[in-house]
Symmetry: C2
Subunit: 88 residues, 2 copies
Amino acid sequence: MATKYHARIYVTLRSSVLDPAGTAVESGLKQMGYTEVESVRIGKYIEMQLTANNEDEAKQHLDEMCDRLLANTVIENYCFELSELATV
Amino acid sequence: MATKYHARIYVTLRSSVLDPAGTAVESGLKQMGYTEVESVRIGKYIEMQLTANNEDEAKQHLDEMCDRLLANTVIENYCFELSELATV
């Protein structure tokens, strides 16, 4: 019996890597008057549904997908959260 | 006395809006063998620090920033989480 999961994946630039998009947004916000803002960093947020036999299998497949396609682990970190949707 | 907050902002496409990038990632994952994946949607994940007098003020400013710059509310939804870092 397989289970359907909802996954939320966060891909962020490693802290040692410059983030020009984040810097641009920060400077835009400051020019708009939000001078209280600092350290803006922009990453990716990926949502998906996947079917697996159990949570461990789902986590293992997500790890592989992140390593192979979703994140560039040379410059990015990733983490994810899983929630169970239904048994199918 | 002001407080420094860490904000995590999630910007996602509205469900009625097509997500060609998500579709491309989904089809890439399927071609790699992850046929159990569906409904891939790609959004933005923004982290920032901001200083405010209290949590309500921080939330109000974040709402404004999202409405005015960070999200295009015609096609995107946003939500955020705030956590307190320090009193400064």
